[in-house]
């Protein structure tokens, strides 16, 4: 059976079968071998927020599959003239876009677009809400090393409250029976975070959280987000920075992940980022493969057997 997919808004809307099919397809994708699978298709990249990895990997993914892309950003478009999101979406669709990949600073913006615009919509990150392609590429990376997600202990460290990556990953990993531990200072990891999905817990002591971890996922911590909080930058680094010593608390074969952009010396040290357990570069490579699979499935060109 071919799992039908009309939009990729968040992990919540996906069935386990769709997630597994997408990961299987992503594994078969090879960014070094261009194809014509999406020949003639037009993919609009509607980016209201800045992005390096996500934008470039969606663009490379589309082009590797033979599609053409166009980038729309607020600067030098009608968005800065006050056009509404719905009108911009209608315009891009009417111009002939076969799919719209959108990044937006407001949580839920992509739902608004999908309600009014009839082409497949891909969420490339909406506010603090969801970043489903990141969760999928992270699952691909984890399963490359750990074979299966069930029973894994995944520790997500840092600014969970503001993180769409944390939310998407927790929802996906929980679906496949991994246990997720959020760790960080209470201001950035509120108790309510544990309610996001079954099997998710909050542990404010990172040294305890890391024990027995299979995966350590560090999140970006912006200095300005610590302003006015109960914790100083120095305290944050002392308590929550991922160092080689802290990595030793995790299982010996634990992997270290980070969605980027990495602020070296803040959430982790360079020894860890560039160390043998780091999968950060692999995550970026998997990003292209995963986004190739997403576009192929959404544009109905994927052959799944």
């Amino acid at each position: 059976m071919k799992p039908q997919l009309h939009a990729l808004l968040g992990i919540e809307q996906l069935t386990n079968q769709q997630i597994e099919a997408m990961l299987a397809l992503a594994r078969r994708m090879d960014p070094s071998r261009p194809s014509q699978l999406l020949h003639g298709k037009r993919v609009a990249l509607l980016f209201y927020e800045s992005s390096t990895r996500t934008r470039t990997s969606f663009e490379f993914a589309a082009k590797t599959l033979g599609a053409t892309t166009t980038l729309v950003t607020p600067v030098s478009s009608s968005i800065e003239k006050g056009e509404s999101l719905i009108d911009t979406g209608w315009t891009v669709a009417s111009l002939g876009a076969d799919a719209i990949v959108m990044r937006h600073a407001n949580s839920g913006a992509v739902y608004l677009l999908a309600r009014y615009v009839q082409v497949p919509i891909v969420n490339a990150g909406d506010g603090m809400h969801q970043h489903p392609s990141q969760a999928l590429l992270d699952a691909l990376t984890i399963t490359n090393h750990k074979k299966k997600l069930r029973g894994l202990r995944v520790v997500i460290v840092g600014d969970v409250y503001h993180s769409r990556v944390a939310r998407s990953n927790a929802e996906l990993l929980s679906r496949f029976d991994a246990s997720v531990v959020f760790s960080g200072p209470p201001d950035l990891v509120p108790e309510v975070a544990a309610t996001i999905a079954p099997g998710v817990t909050v542990c404010h002591d990172l040294n305890i959280a890391l024990q027995g971890a299979d995966v350590v996922m560090a999140l970006r911590v912006q200095r300005e987000r610590l302003a006015g909080k109960d914790i100083s930058v120095e305290d944050y680094m002392a308590s929550y920075q991922i160092t080689p010593q802290r990595m030793k608390l995790a299982k010996p074969d634990a992997i270290l992940m980070h969605p980027g952009p990495v602020i070296r010396g803040m959430e982790l040290t360079s020894e860890v980022a560039d160390g043998p357990q780091s999968c950060i570069h692999e995550q970026v490579r998997n990003g292209v493969k995963t986004r190739m699979a997403i576009l192929a499935m959404l544009l109905g060109a994927a052959r799944t057997e």
């Binding site: 839920g108 739902y111 608004l112 506010g127 975070a193």
Partner: protein, 430 residues
């Protein structure tokens, strides 16, 4: 004696809580007043027209203590004319209009302008004037002059009065001039950038949430100030269990504190926001199920004095945007009675006379609206007639309000307004 300006409402169940009446009676309206209330048949032949209210409840005209009519300045959302038509369709003969208009109603001139016949109001409009100049929270307005011009209360609704000294001064002036201060209780220092209630749903959606404490802390402070000043404090759209408890304690202590709740707060919860539906975005936000249940308990035990709608119309383009950018507020005039009957009467067995009291006699008392909220002989001829068993489905596209921003589109209810009478004239027939 008969007359064409007289109307006999016959065979209805008259529910007049202020007069302690709940029985089948006929009501004769003449010259804008209630001329007589008598046993069925006794007043036959005395009116030019008879309205058969058999099977219906005949109640004092409903009074909404909290609406936004958007005039002056925001007529694209609503006008005094359209808002009062929506009110009539909901059984409301009187509405109390908040001052957050453009410009803010902080003067006797605007207060009078809103009540001018040129506004084309179908029912009675009672302005609530700003408590501070421009609702800026710096300098009190002239309560005495505003009251003389027709203001029934003062409030900075939408912009709470946070300054302790200023709120104390407002309540002291309120005590002197015998006018209630209506507080939108929200410590905005705790809610900057928030779009909904703080809880599992706000976390899941990645939207900043308002904590209960932001409401409760202001209510508790205001109650302390009411104790000190003896000024009448009215809590607008109370939404949290903590604030409700504070009001309950204040009332036990005999303080001049009253409170209203909205139909949406005793019906919906924050989880109903679903996937960013802006028709569920209002301020105060929909709270948790525990808060919703507490509000219902507060209505049942009498802590809550009134049901008010916080009717807040907005144009499509102000709601069909990103959730965080969408305007706060929903319309409410046309669904309030039906929600009250369906939720409070049918589901929680609140007797219908209690619902009538929450919608008429209690609000009249809170804002001291002389001659309103009762059907005693000599009272204003404002009457709401409704069929508590009539089942119907609300279609927002057919609503009378200029705006259609309601979460209740397509909901089925029991209880429908049959006729609304203002000053003896039938202004709405359903």
């Amino acid at each position: 004696m008969t007359g064409t300006d007289s109307l006999l409402i016959a065979r209805g169940r008259v529910v007049d809580p202020a007069a302690g009446v709940d029985q089948e009676m006929d009501v004769l309206l003449r010259d804008g007043r209630v001329a007589a209330v008598a046993s069925p048949g006794k007043l036959r032949g005395q009116a030019g027209r008879t309205f058969n209210a058999k099977g219906c409840i005949v109640a004092p005209g409903f009074i909404d203590l909290h609406v936004h009519l958007r005039e002056p300045g925001q007529a694209h959302k609503e006008t005094i004319a359209t808002g009062t038509v929506a009110a009539a369709a909901g059984g409301f003969t009187s509405v109390c209009a908040m001052p957050n208009t453009v410009p803010v109603n902080d003067s006797p001139e605007i207060t009078r302008w809103m009540q001018s016949p040129e506004r084309g109001a179908l029912g009675n409009v009672f302005p609530i004037a700003a408590a501070t100049v421009g609702c800026m929270g710096e300098k009190l307005t002239n309560f005495a002059a505003l009251k003389r011009a027709g203001a029934v209360a003062v409030s900075d609704d939408g912009k709470p009065i946070l300054d302790d000294r200023l709120m104390g001064k407002a309540l002291r002036a309120a005590a002197r001039w015998k006018i209630p201060v209506v507080q939108h209780a929200e410590d905005t220092r705790m809610t900057a950038g928030c779009s909904m209630n703080f809880g599992p749903t706000s976390f899941r959606l990645g939207v900043h949430g308002m904590p209960n404490a932001a409401e409760a802390s202001v209510v508790e402070r205001d109650i302390s100030l009411a104790r000190m000043t003896k000024g009448h404090l009215h809590i607008a759209h109370l939404s949290t269990r903590e604030a409700l408890d504070a009001v309950r304690r204040a009332k036990k202590g005999g303080l001049p504190v009253t409170a209203e709740v909205t139909p949406h707060h005793f019906t919906l919860v924050d989880a109903n926001v679903g996937d960013f539906n802006t028709h569920y975005k209002m301020n105060p936000p929909l709270r948790s199920a525990a808060d919703r249940d507490a509000l219902i308990a507060g209505i049942l035990d009498g802590t809550i004095d009134a049901i008010a709608t916080d009717h807040a119309p907005h144009a499509f383009h102000e709601k069909q945007v990103e959730f965080e950018k969408a305007a706060f507020g929903i319309t409410g005039l046309e669904t309030a009675l039906a929600i009250a009957i369906t939720v409070l009467h049918q589901h929680f067995n609140l007797p219908l006379p209690r619902i009538v009291a929450l919608l008429s006699s209690n609000p009249a008392k809170i804002f001291s609206l002389e001659g309103r909220g009762t059907l005693r002989q000599g009272a204003c001829a404002d009457v709401s007639i409704f069929d508590p068993r009539k089942e119907w489905t609300f279609d927002a596209s057919q609503s009378y309000s200029k705006s259609k921003n309601t979460p209740f589109d397509g909901w089925s209810f029991s209880g429908k307004v049959v006729a609304t009478i203002v000053g003896g004239k039938v202004v709405y027939e359903g």
